[in-house]
Symmetry: C2
Subunit: 411 residues, 2 copies
């Protein structure tokens, strides 16, 4: 029997009516001849409420108790989804993470999946069950305590099940109807993509297109799970949504498939450091140890043996980065005049696997921004992405201009 | 190390502030030198909300899924209680039912406890943990699915833990400060009892004094667990609340210790049945099969070979009782003229273990009601209880008169 994984996010199971609507979609796939594994999130708002309780209780909480508390929301929706399916005469039952058992590391609150044995659930499919409803986000550690996979972890649960059970596809039902060429709130020309390559999706996800948890895309890429993102709020055909798949499955690709904007980056400049071998290590080693996620790095032209080093990091890590650098300065391991943080920037990126084979993308990007008189502060590139930092006020203008320049409104 | 079980009901853990207040009580017992097992209910209102979801979803629900859903509330408070204790530097951790594991029958939604292995928790006490916080109400069936013990099941969980771990005492913290001679809303003369015998408590609990789940009192009696009921909302001494204990622990007892009133009974009369051997079996056999809880039974004087049979049962079972009797009539197994249901009655009972050794209690009760011109419709007696059915409008008058007559306001 072919098998599908269907995952429903928090807004798709926000109340018993929505659960019923989601269950109807599941029932349709069962009627199409599939065995289905359904992964559910908690009702929207529920996990935030539970996290709120934990934070009211304790600042430096025991992550094992955090996990015991916050994993309860998924258990509720899993049971309700199974009941709803039964009510529709679809044989179904629920599983909690520990019942599968979905085995994880013991890194509580951010556990990684180690193994998903398929025997228990396959045995029930063998007995005539048509739908296994599994509580997302949760698992069990080697010591028998409940773990969670980090916020958004139900996406990862879904992809991991699709990989373990060799599902034909993993459908992620959410409150948007797919992946867009850019944020539709920035330009109405934004177009839904039919297909996106895993690598592109990874860049888009990490750049702020919050459709899918990044880890779930990584996992899908590793195990070549065909992922589909689609809306649970629209009636739609089987071709709906966006398919996230291997590069080989995309026949022809434009150079640029999407423009992403992130306002969550800060630009930091370490002014007047000695321009000597090992200086990069002296700066970025301590930052890494302090848990600062450095993204772009630029070293300025050297003058009189000294230089400035510029990098970007998430805005909420600025204080941590400053402390880490001042600490090494105090210890005498690094000398600089001052650190200047600019939090009034935005990162604009163009992404596309076609970039690998097509040249001139960077030139076209820079030219487009120049035509709009937008100054570029930092540049970084990868094989399939070019990112620039610009003044934050230009965010919308830059996205709109690039979207037009690369003709993303056209399929 | 001496061990205590402390159970906190839903109103005592209704939010993080109340959990903190409860945790302080636990901390005090730890400071007194106890290892403590804390049993928690769900936050008040939470279980009703979850049951509501299930009932919205399905009328004839799968009790296994019901259990998966409704057991989630206790998991939340257990984790939060453990975190709160840790925050107070009391070494604590939470357990869910399946982690203990609290083994039950597979009678979902009304499971009975089969076994509570003590090794896991005792091992942690051995490692320096001072408090084990256990989610009440829930357990695990032989097939590995979550079960619940029925509404109010956390009381039963607490007593079962006290028995399994041979606790010195089981303290039930609730929103009342003990067991009273009668409902304080009926007479301000109602007095809190210092001690009540298990047998008395069982009669009082089943008569509508809803302080404790009846099963928990039965269990405490069987294993001789010293149970204490006390308020979690008042500062109190170690002598506070009401101790529920074996008869031997109560030095001297008055004939009557309490007056209970229940408005949840109906009086049913089967009119003109043949007065022949086996007629009681012909009536009460089918009622029992239909799940009707018959309480009091009276057979009227026979006239011309026919008689009337009167019994009482819970008001919400009247329809079921009528159907059961009409069914046997249709099958020809029973002949009667009609069934008359009187739902406008109340059951008034006086309860006391002292009744066993003191005579004249019934006479005094009947005389007291006669003096108030209250007509008695049905009488039933047990070793330690006398109950009568009266018109419902006399409920308060009867309770007040009996409370005065037996001088229950005096210690």
């Amino acid at each position: 029997m072919p098998l599908l994984v269907m995952k429903f996010g928090g807004t798709s199971v926000a109340n018993t009516d929505r659960i019923r609507r989601a269950a109807k979609r599941v029932g349709r796939e069962v009627a199409n001849g599939y065995d289905v594994i359904v992964i559910v999130s908690a009702m929207s708002g529920e996990t935030n409420k539970l996290v709120g309780y934990v934070e009211e209780t304790s600042q430096l909480y025991d992550a094992r108790e955090y996990d015991a508390v916050v994993s309860s929301g998924e258990q509720v929706t899993a049971g309700l989804m199974a009941l709803t399916l039964q009510e529709m005469d679809v044989p179904a039952r629920s599983w909690q993470g520990w019942q599968v058992p979905l085995k994880t590391t013991n890194a509580h609150a951010a556990a990684r999946i180690v193994e998903i044995p398929t025997e228990n659930i396959m045995a029930k499919f063998g007995e005539g069950m048509k739908v296994a409803v599994v509580a997302g986000f949760q698992g069990i550690a080697p010591d028998g305590r409940v773990t969670t996979l980090g916020r958004g972890g139900s996406d990862t649960t879904a992809v991991a099940f699709a990989a373990a059970f060799e599902a034909e596809r993993c459908d992620i039902y959410t409150d948007v109807d797919g992946v867009y060429t850019t944020d539709p709130r920035i330009t109405s020309k934004a177009r839904k993509l039919e297909k996106v390559a895993f690598e592109e999706m990874l860049e888009l996800a990490s750049l702020g297109a919050k459709v899918l948890q990044t880890r779930s895309v990584e996992l899908a890429m590793r195990y070549n799970v065909r992922l589909r993102v689609l809306s649970s709020f629209e009636e739609q055909s089987d071709e709906a949504g966006t398919l996230i798949c291997a590069e080989e499955d995309i026949v022809e690709s434009k150079a640029v498939n999407g423009v992403a904007a992130s306002r969550e980056e800060a630009k930091m400049t370490v002014i007047s450091v000695a321009d000597r071998p090992g200086i990069a290590a002296a700066i970025f080693g301590p930052l890494s140890e302090a848990g600062v996620n450095v993204d772009m790095i630029v070293q300025n032209i050297s003058e009189e043996g000294r230089t400035d080093m510029t990098f970007s990091c998430p805005i909420n890590q600025v204080a941590r980065a400053e402390k880490a650098l001042n600490d090494v300065k105090e210890k005498g391991d690094l000398n600089f005049r001052e650190i200047v943080a600019d939090t009034d920037v935005a990162k604009i990126s163009v992404v596309g696997i076609g970039m690998r084979s097509q040249s001139g993308v960077a030139a076209k990007m820079f030219q487009t921004l120049r035509d709009e008189n937008i100054n570029i502060k930092v540049i970084a590139t990868s094989e399939i992405k070019i990112s620039v930092l610009v003044d934050r006020k230009y965010t919308e203008l830059a996205v709109q201009a690039l979207h037009d320049a690369f003709e993303l409104e056209k399929a």
